[in-house]
């Protein structure tokens, strides 16, 4: 198989979970809440989906289980950040540690369980298109769903009334209040949606892509999603591009190795992260300056008194 083809197909496969988390984090950040715990939501989603799948034999019930688990964890983050006013970044990390601990504890029993994974479904006609077909249209159902979620998220955020509320909660909370809305409720919903989407991303990881559960299996994809969201300036289409590119970078290492290319293993591993930094550099001044007001406060936060 052609190297470029293989890397891009791998990019879609590996990037789908990052994209789910990225879309979720986009919604959350647009509402003014950064959730570093999105990695934890992916992890909970991965386990939740695996367990629900093992119990029911149905991958869709598994996906629902994953979504619920991811959302539940995000609810904890939302509560502490919105109601208890604790720092967003620190709380996100704590929530992640909580998820790491809980999923290791309760997931141990599932490591050797066999589940009914999502099968690859070749889209009729489209999958036979040379190159494009192989890359985009020979994937699992959850990946196909995320294709649709990108424009849907964009539309919801920028063309719907709800999106206006969300962005208002992130940028102009006073305006929202003036019109009788409750920004905090909007924020809660946004964060939980973020967790739900990340949970489905985790479900894709465990019940479609890897067909396995193991503790800490998300391996930083949630963090990557946060980085992608920032450099994509919280725009769903750009998040999709970023996730795809990162997925390709991740797929580069095994693809090169299988062809006997002699590049140091650790240099290959560093490529995705270095590449992301370089892209950030080239994209220039977009990232932080386009952040919603509420988000800017998070990142330029002085120590609280």
């Amino acid at each position: 198989m052609n190297l470029g083809l293989e890397v891009m197909a791998g990019g879609v496969r590996g990037g789908a979970s990052i994209l789910y988390a990225g879309l979720g984090e986009t919604v959350s950040e647009r509402a003014g809440v950064v959730n570093l715990g999105i990695e934890g939501s992916m992890l909970c989603g991965a386990l939740g989906a695996y367990a629900a799948n093992a119990a029911s034999g149905n991958p869709w019930i598994g996906a629902l289980g994953g979504a619920a688990a991811g959302g539940a964890l995000a609810l904890i983050h939302a509560y502490f950040v919105l109601d208890r006013k604790s720092n967003q970044l620190a709380t996100g990390l704590v929530v992640l540690f909580l998820a790491l601990g809980v999923t290791s504890l309760f997931g141990a029993a599932y490591v050797d369980e066999i589940i009914t994974p999502f099968e690859i479904w070749k889209v009729p006609l489209l999958s036979s298109i040379p190159w494009v077909g192989e890359i985009f249209f020979q994937a699992d159902p959850l990946t196909y769903i995320v294709y649709f979620l990108v424009p849907i998220t964009w539309w919801l955020l920028f063309r719907s009334r709800w999106g206006l509320l969300v962005r208002g909660a992130g940028e102009r909370t006073e305006v929202l209040r003036t019109y009788g809305h409750r920004p905090q409720l909007v924020q809660y919903i946004a964060v939980v949606i973020g967790g739900v989407l990340a949970g489905i991303g985790g479900a894709q990881l465990s019940t479609a892509y890897a067909n396995a559960w193991f503790e800490n299996m998300v391996q930083g994809r949630g963090f990557i999603a946060v980085a992608v969201v920032i450099f994509a300036a919280r725009q769903p289409f750009k998040v999709a591009a970023g996730s795809f590119l990162f997925g390709c970078a991740l797929a580069l290492s095994p693809a090169l190795q299988a062809r006997g290319v002699t590049i140091n293993q650790f240099a290959l591993n560093a490529i995705p992260y270095v590449a992301t930094i370089v892209v950030l550099l080239l994209l220039g001044k977009r990232g932080a300056s386009e952040a919603p007001e509420g988000l800017k406060k998070v990142f330029e936060m002085s120590p609280s008194s």
Binding site: E6, V111, N211, P254
Partner: protein, 378 residues
């Protein structure tokens, strides 16, 4: 004047009495041998005990010890990193009465030696590595010659492959892995000179997503038999089976995960060895025993704790005979690495007719000819 005399007398009397008492106690009670009469045995694992692979096998070994010694307390600790933290955990076990400690991962050696030095009354045995230089009287390493069943599995793979391309998913180029990959290729080569083994590393002992991608890359190159050296093994197997290709297992019998494609594999059976080491130490016979060394067992000694898994249905009777013959040869005077063995550049590693020792094999740091892949050369 008087008082000074009295003081001197008392002082001398005290001195004499103390010396008397000391020497008396020195001869009265013999020093206990390391591990003797221990009330507890400690096991540290580098990963979680439910990984369906390496650590689970070690854990099951520890439970076999428990079964054989119902009165003994068994202490286990998982996710113990391969650095100084391991020493801390082992010390914690010693605090809780363990005088026999098993450090079950390759990278635990440094910590194990440190603990052994600090506690001469504790037996510390380490699984998988090699102590260079003098071996302390209370320490030792042990391992099975893992590459022997892997060699036999390689023969099975070489006989079963149709594309003459085998695949190996591994984590890091540590000696154990290098030996495995080389043995696998040598075994396959011995029955199928054209065969090549393609290698992909994941830089992790268990990262299911990376394993899935590595497997797919190998399959994409036309590989039709995939094996691995990872701690958790199910993803590679399931991915290969879903693609309709063949599997050689590792660490555990995963044949139920690959009903169609299972060729064979290798798996651990530590119970007997662990129990015997414990028995030896409890009786105070550890020092000078066979375990107070770099203890390696294999087919020659007959009790390799790494055994071959059962064969899948695609392995013919003739194949099995060939494999049995190879095993017999290794058990007597052969070796998977019997010369001539060349490296990837064609340089001779072992000359024709040479039968390398365990130490030489464990010191290998290059891939043999026929292996496709790159590792840092020292």
């Amino acid at each position: 004047m008087r008082t000074r005399w009295m003081t001197l007398v008392v002082a001398i009397a005290t001195l004499v009495t103390s010396i008397g008492l000391l020497t008396a106690s020195a001869t009265a009670v013999p020093a206990a041998q390391p591990g003797q009469g221990s009330k507890a045995v400690g096991f540290i694992f580098v990963g979680p005990k439910d990984d369906f692979g390496y650590n689970q096998a070690a854990y099951e070994g520890s439970q076999a010890v428990k079964k054989a010694n119902p009165k003994l307390k068994i202490l286990t600790a998982e996710n113990v990193p391969e650095d100084d933290t391991a020493a801390r955990v082992m010390e914690g076990m010693i605090d809780r009465g363990a005088k026999i400690i098993f450090a079950t991962s390759y990278g635990h050696l440094d910590a194990a030696l440190k603990v052994a030095e600090a506690h001469p009354d504790v037996v510390v045995v380490q699984q998988g590595n090699f102590i260079k230089g003098t071996i302390p009287p209370n320490a030792g390493t042990f391992f099975g010659t893992v590459y022997e069943p892997v060699y036999l599995a390689g023969i099975a793979a070489g006989l079963s492959t149709k594309s003459d391309k085998l695949g190996y998913v591994y984590a890091f180029p540590i000696p154990q892995t290098i030996d495995n990959i080389n043995a696998f290729e040598l075994g396959a080569q011995s029955v199928n000179p054209k065969v090549k083994t393609y290698t992909v590393n994941t830089s992790s002992w268990c990262d299911p997503a990376a394993q899935a991608e590595a497997t797919r890359s190998l399959l994409g190159q036309g590989v039709d038999v995939v094996t691995q050296h990872q701690d958790c093994t199910s993803t590679v197997i399931k991915t290969t089976e879903a693609a309709g290709k063949m599997t050689v297992g590792y660490h555990a019998d995963a044949s139920k995960l690959a009903p169609k494609g299972w060729i064979t594999g290798s798996e651990w059976s530590w119970g007997k060895l662990y129990t015997d080491i414990v028995k030896t130490a409890l009786a105070g016979e550890f020092t000078g025993s066979q375990y107070n060394a770099n203890y390696r067992v294999g087919y020659k000694t007959g009790n390799n704790p790494f055994v071959q898994s059962k064969f899948g249905s695609m392995v013919t009777a003739a194949d099995k005979k060939q494999i049995a013959a190879a095993k017999a040869k290794i058990s007597t005077d052969g070796s998977p690495f019997a010369g001539p063995v060349d490296d990837q550049d064609g340089k001779v590693i072992f000359a024709a007719g040479e039968i390398p020792t365990y130490a030489q094999i464990e010191a290998l740091d290059v891939f043999v000819k026929g292996v496709v892949g790159d590792i840092p050369k020292s």
